[in-house]
Structures are given as C-alpha cells and as structure tokens.
Symmetry: C2
Subunit: 750 residues, 2 copies
C-alpha cells in the first residue's frame, strides 16, 4: 500500500507547482524516482505535460510572486534614482534639482518599504497561520502527554526518536477504535481476519519488492557520520529561503517551489545535484554532506541461530494475507469476492522521524484485502453508501488547481471518477467509519492519486486525508492494486495464487505433476514425513525439473526442507515428477485486490486534534481543555464522584460503580477531596462524556461533558441510563427531556 | 517473568529424580546453571539435600527398576546355565543329565523372556500413553489446521519453524480471549493499560538482564554448522535409551533419569561433558558436535540509520511497564497499590522450536504488574476469591513426591503456603479466568516454584499449569518479584522509580540538584529546548558531576541528547548543578511488584485440546469432531442455514442475519447445497454453539451444539434469544423449557 508515502500531504499549492513540469527546470525532474515504497515499483513513463496553460500561469499570478516582482522593480528604481542623485551631486547640479531628486529617491524608498512590508506579510501569512497551528498543536500535544495519552517510549533512558507508548487513556482510545474497526469492517462485512507474525523471512519481502525498493535517500555528515534524509534537508532549505529571504526573485521563488513540489520524484543524483547547487551543509555542524544513497527502511534481523536466514520486521501487514490467499480462498468455499483483514504492528526504520506522532518507527496498521474477479467489480451493497455526500478531490480538480468538492458517491462511481463500485463501496465505508469516530467531515477529503503518483498496475487509488495542524494527512489509502501482489508471490513461491471459474467446455493442457510416495518417505523420514512431502509438492517447475534430472542421473539428490531447517536425501523411488496432459474445466485467473489500509495511530492523532477545544473556567481566569470524544471512542465512559468526602456518599458511589461494571461501562471513581469543578475539568480533559455526582443516597446527578447540562436520576436507574446513552440506544436530548434538570449545583461547577 | 522456561513441564516423576540430589552423581549437578531467563539472575546457593529418604528410595523401588534388576539376574542365570550345558557336553556327561540341563536352560530362557516382556510393557507403558496422547494431539492439530485455526506462517515459501498465523476462526478465538482478559482484569480491576513498542533499545534490556542472560545453550554440528539445543540432544538421548534399550542396568536407568530431571540446572561445561560421555553426535549427520555455548534468544536489530543504536525485539512486555512506573504512579494520584497491564507481541529466537504451537518464536503475552507497598501486601477484594477450591501443588507436596491437592485458597494464604493475599488474589482471579474460558478445572493446577527454581529476590512464585498432550504446560506465571525490576531500572537510568509515604517528622538529606536555565537553553536550541532540558534533568549523579566539572573547567561541554540523536554544546550559564541539603517529609521506597504473566497462545492451544471431542455420525460410519467452546470463546456464535435452497428461506436467513448483526452476534450464513447434517458437522468442528435452521417463514429451529437439542422459535424472536444465551443472560436449559422442541427434523441431523 502506498500509505505513508514520503510526503504525507499534498497541498494544492504544491500541485500548482507540480503542474509546471513543462518549464525547463521541471523537465529535469519529470522522471519520478523510484518511489520509496516498494509496492510502487517500475517507474511509469513520465507523465505527459498535461498542465493546462491556465494552471501553469496561476503560479506566476499569485500575489506573492507579483510582490516579489514589484519589489525587484522598486529596488531597481531606488538604485537608479540613487545613481541619479550621485550623478547630480558629482556634476554639482543646482541644489533645488538635487533636493527634488533626493525627495524622489525617498519617495521611491518609502514605496519599496511598503512593498517589502506587503511581501513580508504575504510570505509570513503562511508563517502566522503556521504559528497558530503550532500553538494549537502544542496545546493538544501538551494535554495528551500530561494526561498520558502518549508517553515517549523509554523516557527514563531519554527515549528513542519515533517510538511512543500509549498510556492508559490513549491505550483505551486505541482499543475502542480497533474494536469499532473490527465491528464496522470485519463483522459487518464477514471478512476473514488473520493474525500473522511480525518477523518475516527475506524471501517474502523480496517477492513483494520491499527488500529492493523500500528505501529513502540519505546523506551523511562527512565528518560526524550523522544521517539525514536528503529530501528533508532540501525541503527545509527551500522553505527557509522562501519564508525568510525577501530578496530572492520571483523566478528563484518559483524554482524553489517547483523543487518542493517535485521532491518525491527526484532521483538520488538529482537530489545530490540540488544539494550541491544550493550549497546545503549538515544542519548541526555545517560540515559537507555525502552524496545521497538509498537506505532500506526495514528493521533487519536474523531468524534462528545459524545467522543464515535473514528476516525483517514487516513494514506492513498485507503480505501475511497475500501469502495465505490459497487457504483463505478455500476457507471461503473457493468463492470470490471475499475480503481478508489484519490488525497488527508494522515497522519502518525512519532515517530521522519528524512530525511527532504522525511519523513513527512502529505503528498499528489495519488492512483489508478484498479479492475480486477483475471482470466483475460490482458490489452488492454499494446502494447502501451511494447517497453519501462528502469532500472528494479527483485528479481533474487537482490538475486544474481547484479545491475538493462535495460529491455524491453514487455519482462519482457512475461517472467513472471512481473506477468501480467495490472501490466506491469501501470509500463510503471508510467515510462512515472516520466520521463516526469523531473526525470532522469538513476536514476529511478523499483525494485521488495523480497518474504519476500511482503504480503502473494500479487501477485507481484514493487516500482519505484528514486535515490537522500538519496539513492534510494521508490516514487511509484505498487502492485497486489489480493482480500485482498475488502475481508477485505466485512467481516467487511457485504456488499458484489464483481463483477458478468453471468452463462450459473442458480443455487440455500440459502440466507438471509431482507425486510423492508417502510410504517410502514415511519409512525414511518418520515424523518429518509430512514436512518433506509438503516441501516436495511445493516445488516450482524449475526446481522440480532439476530434481527430476538429478534423480534420473544419480538415483538420489539432496533436497532442502525449509520447515525442517535442513537438507535431506531424496531417493528416486520416493517421488515421481512428470509432465502430463491434463484436462481443465475452468478459467484460472489471478483476482484483483482492493486494499483499504488504515494508519490507526494517524487516525487517532487527527481525532485528538479534531476533538480538542478549550473553554474558559467559571472564574474566567483560565482556559480549560476538553476532548469532545463520542462515547464510542472515549477512554472512560463515565466518572463517579461523591460530592463531598462522606462515607454514605462513598458507598453509594461504590454501589453505582458495581452496577456500571456489571453493565460493562468503563468508568472511574474519583474520591479525592478536590472541588467538583476541578474534578469535572480533569475528566473533561480526558474526554469522559458523563459524570455522575453523588450528593444524596436517593438521587444523583448526571452531567454531560459538552453542554454541561445536568439531570437528576435515581441511584437504581443511573447505570442503565448512562449505558443506554453510551450504546447509542438513547440520545442525551432524550435524557434531558425525560429527567428533572439540576441547576442548583452549578455553583459547584467550573 | 520465568514464564516459558526451557523445560515447560515438570512432572512428578522428574521431581522424584530431582530429589535424589544426595547421590554421588547428583552432587556434580547440584549447582543450577544460570537459568536461561534473564529475570532469574545470580544463581542461588545449591539447595540443601532436602530429599526425604523415602522419596529417594521411591525411585529405586519403581516396578521398572525392579524388572531391570530381575532381567539382569535372569540373563546371568541363562548364561550360567548355558555354560553348565556346554561343560556337560564337553565332559561327555550322560544324555539324561544333559537333557535335564537343557530343559532347565530352556525354562530359564522362558523365564527371562517373560521378564523381558514385562519390562517392555513397563517401559512402553508410558510409550503407549504417549502414543494415545500423540494420536489425540494429531486429531486436534489436524482439525485446527484444516479449519484454519492455525496456518504455518509463510507456508507457500515452505514456512519458518516456530512461526504460525492465526487463521479466521483462530483469530476470532484469540480476539475473544483477549477481550475477556481485558474485561476480567483491566476493567474489573481498574488497571492502567499501556501499549509500548516491540522495538526496544539495548540499554533497557541491558538493565533488565536480558542482554547478558537471556540465553540457551547451543551446540553446532562441527561439519555442517547445523545448530541444536544442547539440552534437547541430551534429553532425546536419555529418553531413547530408557525406552528402547532393555539391556541397561537399573543403575544406568536411574542415572539417565537423574540427568533428565536436572537438565535445566546443567552448566555449559556439565552439558558438554555429558554429551561427550554418552557419545552423542549430530542427529542428522552423526558428525561430532561443538562444545555447548550460550546463544542469546532475542532477535537483534539496529534502530535508525547510523547502525550505532542496537535494539532488540522485546522478549516480554513487562519492561515497557517498569520504565513507565514513574508516570503511571503519578497518573494514579501517587497512590499504591495499582496495577498496570499490557497485551502485545513478544519475540524469542528459539534455537530449534519444538512442541508445535507451544514453543514459538513470536507470541502474544498479556502481563500485569501490580505495584504494592512491600510492607502491606493485603488485598481488599481477597475475600471474593478466598472460598475458591482448586488443585494446588505447593513446594512441600512436590518435594515429598505427592500430587497436587484440592485446596481452599483462603486456607493456603492464611497458612502461609501462598506468601501473601495479593498473590493469592491473583491466583484466584487467574483460576476464574481460565475456567471461564473453558479450561478443565481437573487439568489445571497451580504449582509453586521450588526453592532452586525461583530467583533469589522473589518472594513466592506459582505457575498455572494446564495438562495437555505435551504434559503439564506452564501457561500463566504469577510471581511476587519484590523490588527487583524497578531497582534495576533505577540503577541503570538514574531515574528513581520509587513511591512515597509521608513522614510524621521531616528529615534532612543531601541531594544532587540540576536546574536548567530554560531561557538560555531556549535561545540556543529553540524547538529542541524541551528535549535538551529533559536530557539534562534526567542525568544520573555520576554523569551530572562529570558535566559540572567540565563546565567549571572549560565553560562548555559536549552533551549527548539521545532523543535528538546527537550531541549539543552546553555552556556553563545554561545549567546549574549542585549538591544541596534538602528536607524530606516522606518515606521513599521501591514498591514490590506482583506479576501475573499470561502466554495467550499456550492458553488457547490448551483450550483447544480441552474443548475437543469426537462423536459418531448418525450413520455411525465416521467420527465427527466437535469443539465445545463456551459462547464467550467461540469464533462464531451462530450459523444460519436455509434448510433447502429456496429463495423464501434465503431471504428469511438474510433477515435473521441482519438482526444478528444489529445485536452484535458474530455469525455466518451457509447457503451451500450440503445436507443439513454435513452443515452441522462443519459448524461443530468450528465450535459454533448455535445453529439456526430456516425451514419456514414463520418459525425456525435453534440447535445447540453439544446436546444437539433443537427448539422452535419465531423468526422475529430468534436473534434476541440467541443473543441472551450468548451473553449469559439466559441458559440453554431455560430456552429448552420455554420453547417447543423440534424432533421431526432430526432425520436431517447427522
């Protein structure tokens, strides 16, 4: 999956720049470098210069560029007038003439200063926005870390960049998100969930392309050996120059923007050339940098004690599903379509992780591989999502410099904007999943990959991007990858990962047949017989023919049984290898796979940003933090407070707590002596939707987090009322209209 | 945790042998070798020869040994009589005399053959049992693999030993077990759940002892380099000899049994000496073997691109909790006791994984670290488990050769058999957890560690062992590890992992104070300021004093900030390091930790064995497999079958399916044309507790898996009836007595 590509966001301004690929500079970069993600292999031919003249011109016409040009003009005018003044003075011209020239010069200077100010504002406009965004992010992250949603891993040992722990509330949110994912996708769609190991032998990742292509380009400080991502250094240089150097020309600014836009497509040589051209040095030492070279992002290890079986920590979970296709297809009654799903850890040894919680070295992925007949990609349940309307950002809109637009999904599929109904169905399901978690639908868009972003074999690809303080972040990738992955493993393993469809008429073909003599093999290998037989029967054609030749010439041959971790001697009476004519009664084909792939940590982080707000305390002296999590996601559904420390209230609180436990409502009792206002503030900051305050032995108060509304409910009833609202069987407004309101205690509230 | 020690089971026969440590041979082995698990460090002094004479003698008096002696006597008698016959013949004795001697010889031979037969029976008695166990296991594993509960990982590439996938039903069982674990432990006990990465920097595992001590002893085939676990080879040799060689003397048999019993305690030298003494060669090639040497069982990798930060895949999840103790204690309001929990993958690079699904290279652990004041290990909820009665196997019972006995938990704690009430509470909770999953209480015992099994710092340790076809398997370890782990990390990190208790009187002590000048640091390091400050303030005493000296002499010093992955220059105005007298108002102490640690995969495997049974098909022509999973665990709760392929029935089935989805009941529709009997057999084999057969548009049949009883329920009601039984709100016998029974369709049943 091309989830988590090197550049996580793709803003429309960079797209504008990308469109300018017909300019001379651009043509040098127009061949995309091998994308760092392995499953995005052989470079597609360079995209045709599809940029419309209007779009290309748009870049030049931006206010910022106009101001740069104006500033250069003013600067030239100031210089010219300065020369004129000096000439007048040297020529001893009359004073009034000199004075007039000086006045003109001053006027020009004021003019220039005005333009300079405007440009500064234009350039740092983004900067100011960035500052606001950073301040917001800082407030969110600070709350998240203080309340242990996250903890930098191994903090007492000063941590390791790119590794984070989920603390108690974060862990609860994550487990709620995963439980809902499982409900929404696996259970509701009857998917086949599997759970495969993280440790993966090299051969699997060789087949998938990760061993050869899962790389980022790296440069080293030539003296200290410190490593940097080459594209990051170039990106930082360009951004810094654009934001802080007002003197650069509009042309230079355009060039830098183009570099930013085409960063992902630069080859090692091109990146190296740019780094040299701009004189970029190591940021910390200012030492010279090495040429860029590819660094494989997989964590490498070795399986078993011999050191001879290299392995990697999987960079994604999908491969575990692909290699099991044959068994899963059988499990599904040899019928298509079906989907398999997997939730699990994935690992990427990032060169220098940035973007805090968004780019980490270990993360939870949830992936679906929906296998479908390439000749029929309809979906029986598509009508259930066809009426959904949300922000879509098709290729054409991006190419013409427009924004994402609200689109009806059914229309997008029927018009062919989305390639097929199955892909469309998953887009709709992803939309429902994310918005039900609490992602703001106005900051969620489905962006189609541009032609040059997509692998050559892919039929279509859409990313669910969520806008947060880092920009638009790719959180779910939904790709129609056609038959690529199954074919790659078929080729490497020699095991046909294919589906079947009965023929009307049988047909005859020649096939390799391996038949093992189980009796002989059993006598020779006893308990290991099964593994030897399986290995023999799993041979690819070439290997089988070699073995056949060896057996015919020497009567026996050495044969490696990987499952045993050793070679055995096979005699010619143990196995029969032959080519036979076979009648086939069916179409055999490689299914297409449609892959929705979810970066769970990224979704959760965006959810935090979308759920966070502040409101003044009652006294107005401070801003209080609130996470407006829906109950589905909230780490704790409810808190129980005795209003004051009093044994009777505490035992009522314990009673309510037990009822909540029986009802399966996760909750917490707070019997600290803090004021009720402080206790509300503390639970708001954890996003707890309901608080039960015990101030009598008969009735208690339920307070809703966002409205701060309070109702009075009897002790016996309170757990079931909360449970009903949590489970979505009753709304808060229904509760609000069914129970007496509580206002007197508002003095206790914040 | 000493979960998953090298020898997974400890039978009482090996214990008998272990007790014989006062024999001359035993004394050579009485010093336990450094246990392969790291958190079981410095070797305790050799245990005193506590074996009772009766127990030691018991070994010699076994029937088998008596028979070996008798056989040796008979052999000697046969030889003597043979000589006598030859002498008579040589001396030309009279024929009647020779005939009589020959008759006597024949009688002796018959005698000897009888004893031989008896010994063969005695020796292979265990063998026969083993065969039955193996046949049973074969039946279970065959069903599990055929129905995709498990799949050997990367099967199309011939797999990797010790790695397994959970296929769809296995994955569902696992996720049910984990959900129930979270409910039973985390939610009901208000534990703080965390989720830490698998990738772990070396320093953490150096502190925990894993880098130095997490090893198994390995030997290599000197010619091929193939690796073997040294203790496995010795074990196989002894077992083979004992079972197949009838000619060995009773003394030799006793010696071999003693070796088996003390295998875990042998040092590398001792193991090597035994391998030489017995002439053990490489099993496959008969080549000579290297001396045994330790092999670290952690998968090693490297974090980041520089190759300078070694890391490992965590071998357990507990360390992630220990390093977070400080934050978690704060999160808990600086109050003890509290428990933290973690579910996650752990990795062990086994030398040669055996025992199928029980000893794997990657597995899911669920661990609890309950932190408690060492001076108060009572538990407020102990009374809730005190009346439980189950098989306990205290040290004394093991030492005196007795079996586990049914014990009331309250009594075991009050008598001091179990060290403290908190440990006892967890033993009780583990018992409830396992039996509710479906573990047979008669094949579950809590075995206390013997003195020489336990780490020197541990207060007490009990393993929940489950009996399956491999013997008694350690599935949960419940240990009071005292303050060991927190102290180890305090020492290595320099961060005090301690708890506090207010003093009545304050007291004065000298302390190191590091105060950073945030303004200066902010100016110098901008966005990195926070990480620099944290690193400075996290310095240990020694490092701080070195920095202080450097700043005082040179005015600045280089300082490594791990979180930034680089060194920075610290000037003397940026940080103040001093020793100050401080008044303390509290007791500062390292909490004890009580650690229940669950091998989820092992529990699930044992559950499969305990749930599996076969029953004859209706025709009696075959045995059908059934898993009697409780609904809690069952991978699918319910199947829906139209009795025959008929559109009306199919649409009723779809309707029921939708109601089940809304009710959150995981289920499957089977519309294949198979007979209903075949479909029942298929769902029984997946352990599906209920099947709904649609044979009308008004009423349908619910069939219970184990009783095969069937009731008639209306289409509208069926989903909620199933839901109630699944959730445990209604029993099947209640359903059975509330609805009309269905008998006519039994013709359709198997």
């Amino acid at each position: 999956m091309p989830l988590f590509s090197s550049s996580s966001s793709s803003s429309s301004s960079s797209l504008l720049a990308r469109l300018a690929s017909s300019t001379p500079l651009a043509s040098r970069f127009s061949i995309p470098r091998l994308f760092s993600l392995p499953r995005r292999p052989p470079p597609p031919p360079p995209p045709p210069p599809t940029a419309s003249p209007a779009a290309a011109a748009a870049m030049d016409r931006t206010a910022e560029d106009a101001l740069r040009r104006a500033l250069a003009d003013k600067q030239a005018a100031v210089e010219a007038q300065g020369n004129a003044v000096r000439a007048l003075k040297a020529g001893k011209a009359p004073k009034p003439e000199i004075d007039a020239a000086i006045a003109a010069l001053n006027a020009l200077k004021i003019d220039k200063a005005g333009v300079e100010k405007q440009l500064q504002a234009a350039v740092s406009g983004a900067g100011d926005g960035a500052l606001t965004r950073e301040a917001f992010r800082h407030a969110v992250v600070n709350t998240l870390e203080r309340r242990l949603f996250y903890i930098p891993s191994f903090k007492i040992y000063r941590g390791v960049a790119g590794l984070y722990d989920y603390g108690p509330p974060g862990c609860a949110v994550k487990s709620n998100v995963l439980a809902y994912w499982r409900q929404h996708f696996v259970h509701e769609e009857n998917m086949l969930e599997v759970d495969c190991p993280c440790v993966t032998p090299e051969i699997v990742l060789k087949a998938s392309g990760h061993v050869d292509k899962f790389t980022d380009l790296m440069v080293k400080d030539e003296k200290t050996g410190t490593c940097y991502r080459a594209d990051h250094l170039l990106k930082d240089f360009c951004n810094e120059k654009l934001q802080k150097d007002l003197s650069i020309s509009a042309e230079k600014a355009a060039e830098l923007k183009l570099v930013l836009a085409t960063l992902d497509d630069l080859s090692a040589d091109e990146l190296g050339a740019k780094i040299k051209e701009y004189g970029i040095a190591a940021p910390d030492t200012k030492n010279a940098l090495s040429d860029p070279y590819p660094f494989n992002l997989m964590f490498q290890t070795s399986i078993g004690p011999s050191g001879l079986l290299p392995g990697y920590m999987r960079p994604e979970t999908a491969q575990g599903i692909f290699v099991n296709f044959k068994d899963l297809y059988y499990y599904n009654g040899n019928k298509l379509p079906f989907a398999a799903a997997q939730i699990g850890q994935a690992f990427r040894n990032e060169i220098s992780p940035r973007q805090g919680l968004l780019r980490v070295r270990e993360f939870t992925l949830a992936e679906i591989e929906h296998f479908v007949d390439p000749e029929d990609k309809s979906h029986p349940k598509f009508s259930q999502v066809a009426d959904l309307k949300f922000l879509m950002f098709p290729r054409e809109q991006q190419m013409s410099g427009q924004s994402a637009i609200k689109t009806q999904l059914g229309e997008a599929v029927s018009k062919g904007t989305v390639n097929n109904a199955t892909l469309g169905y998953f887009i709709g399901r992803v939309y429902l999943f994310l918005t039900r978690l609490g992602i703001d639908k106005d900051r969620l868009r489905f962006r189609q990959h541009l032609a040059n972003e997509m692998a050559h074999y892919a039929a279509d690809c859409w990313d669910a991007e969520i806008e947060c303080s880092y920009g638009w972040i790719e959180c779910v990738g939904i790709a129609d990858r056609s038959a690529y992955d199954l074919r790659a493993h078929t080729e490497k393993s020699g095991v046909a990962l294919v589906a079947h469809e009965k023929f009307a008429e049988p047909r005859e073909v020649e096939k390799l047949v391996i038949s093992s003599n189980k009796k002989k093999l059993g006598l020779a290998f006893k308990g290991n017989q099964k593994m030897v037989v399986e290995s023999l029967e799993a041979m690819g054609e070439e290997e089988a023919l070699q073995l056949k030749a060896a057996l015919e010439s020497k009567g026996e041959a050495e044969f490696l049984v990987c499952t045993l971790g050793k070679s055995v001697i096979i005699k010619d009476n143990m196995v029969k290898i032959s080519k036979q004519k076979i009648r086939e009664n069916q179409r055999v084909f490689t299914p297409s796979v449609i892959e929705p792939s979810f970066g769970i940590g990224r979704i959760i982080y965006c959810l935090y940003e979308h759920s966070f707000y502040t409101r003044p305390s009652k006294a107005g002296d401070e801003q209080l933090n609130v996470f407006r999590f829906p109950p589905l996601v909230a780490p704790i559904k409810c808190t129980v407070f005795p209003l004051i420390q009093k044994p009777e209230y505490e035992s009522v609180a314990q009673l309510i707590s037990r009822s909540l436990t029986v009802a399966g409502v996760s909750h917490k009792i707070d019997i600290t002596g803090n004021t009720i206002g402080k206790r509300y503030a503390r639970t708001d900051e954890l996003g707890v939707p309901f608080a039960i305050t015990v101030d009598s032995q008969v009735d208690v108060t339920i307070r809703e987090r966002d409205s701060k509304d309070q109702v009075r409910v009897s002790v016996g009833e309170v757990a079931s009322v909360v449970k009903e609202v949590i489970d979505g069987h009753r709304t808060w407004s229904d509760v609000w209209s069914s129970f007496p309101h509580h206002t007197s205690a508002s003095a206790e509230d914040e």
